[in-house]
Every structure is written in C-alpha cells, then in structure tokens.
C-alpha cells in the first residue's frame, strides 16, 4: 500500500469499528465476516477467510471475504492440508508461502488455490497465551510478498478478534451458571409458596401440604418445582392434588430432611 497516511486512518477506523462490534449484540460470525472484509480493504491481500475450532476441537470455516475463499477453506478442511489447517494445529504463523512452491507440501490444496488465481498464502493463529481458538487465512494474487507492516496489522486484527471471542465465551459461561443459580432459588421459593397456599386452601399443616405436593409430583414423575408453579398459577387444581389421597408419611420413614430454618427439604 502506497498511501501510508490513508492506510493508517483505515487501520484506526477498523479498530474503532471492531470495539463497536465487540460491545453491541456480539455475534461471532458477524465479527469475523467484518474482519475478513477489512483485511481485503485495508491490508494488501485479495481474499481472507476465518476458521474457528468447535468445542470439540475441529476447525470450521466461519467467515470469508468471497465465495472462492470459502470453497478453498472447505477444501482445506476436507483434505486436512493447507495454510490455515497447518497454522492452527502448529499454533504458529505462516507468512508468504508461495503456492507454486508448495505443491509437495499441500498436493491437493495448492493446485486448487493456484487455479482460483492465488499465488501466495499467509496464515495467522488466533491465539492468546496458550489458547488457540482458530486461524486467519490471507491470500494474494500477486507474486510479491505481503509487507511487514501489513503482517503486523493482520496480527493485531487476529488478536483483537480472539480476545473478543474469548471474553464473550467466558461471559456466556458465567451467564449459564447464574441462570442456573436463579432457577434453583426460584424453585425453592415456588415450593415454599405452594406449601403455604395448599396448607391454607386444604386446611392442613404446612408439613402435610408438602407431603401432598411431593407425592403428587412423584406419582406423576414431575419435578416438585413444576408442580408448585402449576398450583400457584392455577393450572393445577387443589382437588387434583388432594385426589391422590393422604400421603404416606415420608417424615416417619426418615425420607425428608429438616432444613436450617425448619422448612422441609427434599433430600
């Protein structure tokens, strides 16, 4: 790229836009598609493709700047050869590999890439610390090498994308655990409320009400919290629960524990 000033401003614009992509409704495919496009626009490359590893560790083609690259990347994955594949599994960058010199290294891939009009390939791992989550593939149609400045900028792109994706994954994992925590707390609340409601409406003690709810749930193979919610919400009638007859007193058989504050808990 000859116009250094305009390239610098393009780079800055890309990083600014990247941070927008990272904070707004984060979408991995959208992020990587954007990045593939910017590689072509800002760096001296003709096509770019992004691969990410699935949770089981297999690489998948996620985004590309053109359909031709997408086809190439899928071919890479099928034949298990090519710059992106090699770069990911060795977790090391490959810079400016001439495709015509790589006919032995990638016997299936190199001819196909040459046919598609590409002359050289660069692949950069998407890596932070020891964690490699994918790789970025850059193709050039010209014989000349990708410059050092472009390589550095490409590495920075890969780095920012990696950090964004890792952060997003960490937050998702925390969200899942917090949702489980909230659901567990909610279940406890529903069960206690249903106990009180049933005790009042059936004119029995709270302990007896718990027994009724519990045997109803067991007989129908439903979760206690689900039964409680149905009863509180009015979808489950009082008579339906009472029809099951008096509960076997599990208390006497020692099947029910006593909670900290005197409430009965399901063991």
């Amino acid at each position: 790229m000859s116009d250094v000033g305009s390239r610098e401003s393009s780079l800055v614009a890309t990083f600014v836009e990247l941070t927008d992509v990272l904070v707004d409704d984060f979408d991995v495919v959208e992020l990587l598609t954007y990045l593939a496009g910017r590689c072509v626009e800002v760096l001296g490359v003709d096509a770019a493709g992004m691969m990410l590893a699935s949770p089981t560790g297999t690489l998948q083609a996620v985004a590309s700047s053109s359909e031709a690259v997408r086809t190439l990347e899928l071919f890479e994955l099928q034949t298990r050869q090519g710059p992106c594949y090699e770069c990911f599994y060795n977790a090391t960058p490959l810079a400016n590999v001439s495709l015509s010199d790589a006919l032995e290294r990638w016997p299936d891939f190199a001819p196909l890439a040459l046919d598609a009009g590409f002359r050289s390939a660069t692949a950069l791992p998407m890596r932070v610390g020891n964690t490699t989550i994918g790789a970025m593939n850059l193709f050039r149609s010209a014989r000349a090498d990708l410059g050092v400045a472009d390589l550095i900028a490409a590495r920075a792109f890969a780095h920012v994308a990696t950090i964004g994706i890792l952060q997003h994954r960490a937050i998702e994992a925390v969200q899942v655990i917090n949702d489980q925590l909230s659901a567990a707390l909610e279940s406890r609340v529903l069960i206690e409320q249903a106990k009180g409601m049933l005790a009042e409406r059936a004119g029995v003690e709270v302990e007896e009400a718990f027994e009724r709810l519990r045997s109803f749930a067991r007989n129908r193979n439903r979760r206690l919290a689900q039964v409680a919610e149905g009863f509180i919400g009015g979808e489950l009638a009082l008579d339906e629960i009472l029809e099951d007859g008096p509960a076997r007193s599990a208390l006497r058989h020692g099947q029910v524990g006593e909670g900290r504050d005197g409430t009965l808990v399901d063991p």
């Binding site: 952060q167 960490a170 937050i171 925390v174 969200q175 655990i177 917090n178 489980q180 925590l181 909230s182 659901a183 567990a184 707390l185 909610e186 279940s187 406890r188 609340v189 206690e192 409320q193 249903a194 106990k195 009180g196 409601m197 049933l198 005790a199 009042e200 409406r201 709270v206 979760r223 919290a225 509180i232 909670g259 900290r260 504050d261 005197g262 409430t263």
Partner: protein, 246 residues
C-alpha cells in the same frame, strides 16, 4: 489502574482462600468483614430484580441489616444493585434517614451507624450486593473503598465457582450452608395469597405493609401467619384469638 486493581484482588483472594479452607458457614462474609476492617458484612442474593434472601452474614447486626432490607425493600444493597454503583451512607441517624425512612432507624437501632453497599457482578452478569456496616459513623478510607470493590469482585467469582459445581436445578451446598432464603416468608406469601385471593406479588405487598404498620419485620409477621395467629382473609392482617387453635 487496572493493574493495581488486579493486584489487589489477587492479594485479597489469597486471604479469602484461607478463610474458605477454615470453612465455617458464613466464611465469605466473615472474610469480607475482617479484610475491610469494618464491623460486619452480609451478601444479598438477587434474581432478576427480586431479593432472594442472604447468602451469608458475619454477625447478628449484619443479619438484621439483611432482614430489614428484605422486609422493607430498601437499603444499601438494593440501591447498589439497582444503580449498579457503590453506596456510601456514613450516618444512618442523619442523612440515612431521608434516604431509607423504614430501613435506616431500624438498622441504627440494631447497632449499625454507617452502611456501605457494593454491587456483586461477574462481567455483565449481576448476582447481588455486598453490604458492610460499621458501628461508628463515618466514610470509608480510599484504601477501604478499593478493598471493598475488590471483595465484591471476589465474592462474585466465588459464587460462580461454587455454583458451577452444583447439579442443574440445585443450589450449591457451599452457597446454601450460610444462606437464609427466608423460606418461612414464602410459605406465608402462599397462605396470604390463598386467604385474600390475590396473587403472590400482592400477598408479599400486603405482608410488607402489615410489617411496616405494625413495626415488625417481614419475617416475624410471616411466622405469625404460618402459626395461624394472623389472617388476611379480610384483605388485611387480623390477629386471630389464640383459643381457636387450642
């Protein structure tokens, strides 16, 4: 700045780990009180925007602070959680009274002179709030403030770590051990909903209103309902003559 915060968290986390290994039920709150140099600490659990009781309390005053916040739906933890920002109240008998008219005088009577609330979150995931109190009035030192922020952050990751080990649908035993989920209050909510033929949200509002009128906590009102000494059949709490149950 971020580096300094991280170093502080790492340094305090070592002390928290030591408390965890010593392991009594309220260890997390005990460690927060010790490390901050304040009189006591409690952690309020929130689900959505609803209070779910306390995870732990370090002493009786902290337990009272938690119970009062649950009773009257106001206080430092709720403000910290809802505004997602620290809350500093250096004088419960002065400025605190207008801020929390129901909570402040009762918390002061229980032995707290200054209260502080810090939101507990991991990333964008919000879990609850840490409350700390001191038996003498006054603000926090800069050092204490930084420590409290770090402690709230450690409390969040600790809660997630503990809950991550629990089977789905259950509360991690490590979280449950020191918790007070106010289950009796929820039994009373169910009873009042049936008595007054209202939904559970309205039943809670009726119990809260009664507690406020009667100068009691929500829990003590709830215990009367569960004991069938208080009845909301007529739309308000009416004390039942004892002989009915003899």
């Amino acid at each position: 700045m971020i580096g300094a915060r991280r170093r502080r968290v790492e340094r305090l986390a070592t002390r928290i780990d030591a408390a965890r290994r010593a392991g009594d039920d309220g260890w997390l709150c005990g460690a927060c009180a010790d490390i901050s140099g304040l009189s006591g600490a409690g952690i309020m659990l929130m689900a959505g925007d609803v209070q779910r009781g306390s995870l732990c309390t370090s002493d009786g005053v902290s337990a009272a602070i938690e119970e009062l916040q649950f009773s009257f739906d106001e206080g430092p933890c709720l403000d910290a959680f809802r505004d997602d920002a620290p809350v500093i109240e250096p004088d419960l008998t002065g400025s605190g009274r207008s801020r929390w008219p129901s909570f402040a005088p009762r918390a002061a009577a229980a032995g707290a002179a200054a209260v502080f609330g810090f939101p507990i979150a991991v990333g964008v995931v919000r879990l609850g709030a840490l409350n700390l109190y001191r038996s003498t009035a006054g603000v926090l030192s800069g050092e204490q403030f930084e420590d409290c922020l770090a402690l709230a952050s450690i409390a969040g990751t600790t809660m997630i770590e503990l809950q991550a080990q629990a089977p789905e649908g259950t509360l991690a035993p490590g979280l449950e051990a020191g918790a007070n989920l106010e289950l009796r209050v929820h039994q009373a909510i169910g009873m009042v909903a049936a008595q007054a033929e209202v939904d559970v949200a309205n039943a809670l509002a009726m119990l809260r209103a009664h507690a406020l009128d009667d100068g009691q906590t929500l829990r003590s009102v709830a215990l009367d309902v569960v004991a069938r000494e208080l009845d909301f059949r007529d739309g308000r709490g009416i004390r039942q003559p004892r002989w009915r149950h003899e």
